[in-house]
């Protein structure tokens, strides 16, 4: 039994009977043409969009047996357009830590970005860093990365990838959608064709 898997997931007209499986510690890259519905699929995995049929399991547990917030905390979708939630970096971290579903009780905030920076002044790439660090604070088991480092420069993107790899190595998993054709080779991930 896989750590994270979808069985016959269908949402017409985008995808039908889509099954994927990831082991703990595994990362995979989802590749397919633009507009093929990769984002809809990732959102469906996180239960942010409805599906017509099929199921998604984490450690053998079907998501329907738990509340949607509990599921999303564990299967966390990082959207294409990173969005700040509050006026400052620190407040953004505190906002997600304050959510009822969050189980992490960390008091140490990530230092990748200055905590007192106004989120309004963050560049697209910095917002993507903010989104990653914020997501990791919640402690998800599965990261769904949708073009999550597309606005970063090369050097920064490599550090971003290393951060994700290190997190996955803790016994988590990640599914990554990226247009960068070299990503899979660079991080040593399997490529899954979509749809």
């Amino acid at each position: 039994m896989s750590f994270f898997s979808s069985r016959d997931l269908t949402r017409r007209p985008w995808f039908a009977d889509k099954s994927i499986a990831l082991e703990a510690g595994e990362i995979a890259v989802l590749r397919g043409p633009t507009g093929s519905g990769k984002t809809v699929f990732m959102r469906a995995l996180a239960d942010l969009d409805p599906v017509d049929s099929g199921e998604v399991l984490l450690a053998g547990v079907e998501r329907g047996t738990m509340s949607a917030p509990a599921w999303r905390r564990q299967v966390l979708y990082l959207r294409q357009r990173a969005t700040a939630l509050t006026p400052t970096v620190r407040a953004d971290y505190e906002r997600v830590l304050a959510l009822k579903a969050t189980e992490s009780s960390t008091t140490e905030l990530p230092t990748e970005l200055p905590l007192d920076r106004a989120t309004e002044q963050l560049s697209g790439g910095e917002l993507q860093w903010l989104a990653l660090e914020r997501a990791l604070l919640v402690g998800p088991k599965v990261l769904l990365l949708d073009e999550a480092s597309s606005a970063l420069d090369r050097e920064s993107a490599l550090r971003f990838e290393a951060r994700v790899l290190a997190y996955v190595a803790l016994g988590n998993a990640a599914l990554w959608v990226a247009h960068d054709t070299e990503l899979a080779g660079r991080i040593g991930a399997e490529e899954l064709a979509f749809p």
Binding site: R72, Q74, R79, V96, L99, A135
Partner: protein
Amino acid sequence: MSGLIELTPFDLALAALLILANAAVSIALDLRLGRRLALAAIRAVVQLSLLGFLLERIFNAGGPLPVILMLVFMATLSGFEAVRRTTRRVRGITLVSTSVMLVTSLVIAFYGVHFVLEVDPWWKPQYIIPILGMILGNSLTGVALGLETTLEGFSRERDQVESLLAHGASRREASHDIVRRAVRTGTIPILNAMVAAGLISIPGMMTGQILAGEDPMSASRYQIFILFSITGAVALGTISVVTLASRLVFDERCRLRLDRVREVGGDN
């Protein structure tokens, strides 16, 4: 009612000169206000005359049934009207708006006449109908503003709401900021009216009572009573409708479903 001066049709014709004079100015200056002014004035005359006629029938009918029918009719109509004033509508909102309007305004109007004024019987139309009317006029504004702000908030802040959901936020956690802002916006007009009451304007009801020969102190006490009733109803109505509307944009798995929201031209 000793001080009441009866208005004859001739008196009203004199008052209508004020409208006609403005229409003439509009035509002279080509402001294109004349037609709309005339139509609005005619509507006001017809509607108020009908209302006067209808109220007279109800006052004379005796018995609670015609009164109750009138109250329910007024409240239901306000519920529809509040939705009609918005430019974004979520599936199921008309039912929510009409139910909220019926329950909140009727409960508060009943509380006012029965426990505060101690009118006996409570359905005596000369009290409950105008009081409900004033409550509804203000509730309608609050509910419409609250609804508009709520749905506008979800559309504009969709990215933030969805990000919060993706981190495991509950429906309540994801919509709290929007709900709070919508309630605040919906209650601004009535709060402003309370603050300004007596300073900048003499409220309509007090004006009416004073014109009708009532003692000003007594009129001011009535005005305070009615302002409190109105504010209670506006706040209760706005909070209820905003809370319920913010549930309608989520489905049973707590997904944001903006596909259930439709944008319309809006009639105002």
